[in-house]
């Protein structure tokens, strides 16, 4: 399933829908659709550029890392984050599409949280940006609700047998962010230094934050 580059010819199938040319032509079709919609005044070129710029340059896991680092250093912020994540994340200026209603789930020695969307690709854009390819692909979506320990092992994460794994399937419009445990040996670090330890995967639940020694 992960070989997305193979060709697969199909022009018209049983449902009578017109289907685009083979996948090798998909870039051409994207450019053609954009040209047509611009020509018809249905989209503007600067809007497309601006949306790409927002999600490539401004919005990404660096936002979520700031949220996590703040929660690790400010107990009152952590409490607000766990009771009303949408507002607490909004305090740092992160809001909008695919993050309208946020819930933060906290890891602890006895609980490890993992996020998935089995039905499509729901993911908290304002704090993590756009999802990695594996997150929106069939293997992860199919397996993590049924065999999370096996999946986490493939990401290099070993969760102790005594720790309850909670898999959150984003089936409605709530978007989840994992608050990972603060690594040991980080007592002296400032919030900005802590944020650099917080990986994207640690906020999905398929990774752990880096330790200072590992950097």
């Amino acid at each position: 399933m992960h070989d997305h580059d193979h060709d697969h010819g199909h022009d018209h199938d049983h449902d009578g829908h017109h289907h685009p040319r083979p996948a090798s032509d998909i870039e051409l079709r994207a450019r053609a659709l954009e040209a047509l919609l611009v020509e018809k005044g249905l989209v503007s070129s600067d809007a497309i550029d601006a949306v790409i710029d927002r999600y490539v340059n401004d919005v990404g896991p660096q936002n979520g890392a700031r949220v996590v680092a703040r929660a690790w250093t400010d107990p009152a912020y952590r409490d607000r984050l766990l009771s009303d994540a949408t507002s607490a994340i909004g305090e740092l200026g992160y809001a909008g599409d695919e993050g309208h209603t946020m819930v933060v789930v906290e890891n602890a020695p006895d609980v490890h949280n993992v996020i998935v969307c089995t039905l499509c690709s729901c993911y908290p854009w304002p704090v993590l940006g756009l999802p990695p390819t594996w997150y929106k692909s069939a293997p992860y979506r199919a397996r993590v609700v049924a065999e999370p320990r096996a999946v986490l092992q493939e990401f290099g994460v070993e969760v102790p047998e005594t720790t309850e794994i909670r898999v959150w399937d984003s089936t409605a419009e709530v978007r989840y962010l994992v608050l990972p445990m603060r690594p040991e040996g980080t007592e002296g670090l400032a919030e900005e230094e802590l944020a650099e330890l917080v990986s994207r995967d640690s906020m999905i639940g398929t990774g752990l934050p880096q330790t200072p020694a590992a950097r």
Partner: protein, 213 residues
């Protein structure tokens, strides 16, 4: 619609990750297809997803992620009559022949779009909730005609109300009605049988998907 998109619990797909899979936008066209779908769509989120679900199940499982979004962008506008597939085909030929695609700027609308994209509209609290935290519930059996957000792997399973998330438009009727959404907690053995581990799965389910257990 019960289709290929409803993947929870399926087997045989292989490893969960692989080299290169950490990228969000592997190709330049992925970014443009993403932005095109976001800027051109006038559909509800539910209708957007349903357009992708109707693209053909074999194809759904084969194409890359943003090819699905590109399909949505084209198909939705064809269905409203705004464009035709033949018009897109014609532009494919023109660009392949070397023609430079047009550009159009609309700074006012673009600023409004960005403002809207960065503004949250949180789900309001549930006005009326039939179930309380701790209640035992069973997910109803169903064969939904249109779009649904009730995955197959949960139907018939018994769980417990973990949290009341709020009040939201019902996907199955494209937001024509609103009702409570609950985070429901399921034990792994109630979903997959014995010997399947001791994890739990939590899913957000609309009230109409549930009955008292």
């Amino acid at each position: 619609m019960d289709g290929a998109h409803d993947l929870g619990g399926m087997q045989g797909f292989g490893p969960a990750t692989w080299p290169g899979a950490e990228q969000a936008l592997p190709n330049d066209w992925d970014a443009r297809a993403f932005a095109l779908a976001v800027t051109s769509s006038s559909q509800s989120t539910h209708a957007f997803r349903h357009t992708i679900e109707r693209m053909g199940h074999a194809r759904y499982l084969c194409v890359s992620y943003y090819e699905k979004w590109l399909h949505e962008a084209e198909q939705a506008l064809v269905e409203t009559g705004a464009i035709t597939h033949a018009e897109v085909d014609a532009w494919v030929d023109r660009i392949a022949a070397g023609e430079q695609p047009p550009r159009r700027e609309d700074p006012v609308a673009t600023a409004q779009l960005l403002e809207a994209m960065a503004t949250s509209h949180p789900m309001p609290p549930a006005a009326a909730a039939a179930f309380a935290v701790g209640d035992r519930v069973r997910v109803r059996r169903m064969r939904p005609a249109w779009h649904t957000r009730c995955p197959r792997y949960l139907r018939g399973a018994t769980g417990e109300i973990f949290r009341i998330q709020g009040d939201d438009g019902v996907p199955d009727v494209n937001n024509a009605e609103r009702e409570a959404v609950y985070a429901v907690r399921f034990e792994a053995h109630d979903l997959w049988g014995e010997d399947t581990g001791d994890h739990v799965v939590l899913a957000d389910l609309w009230e109409r998907y549930l009955e008292a257990a």
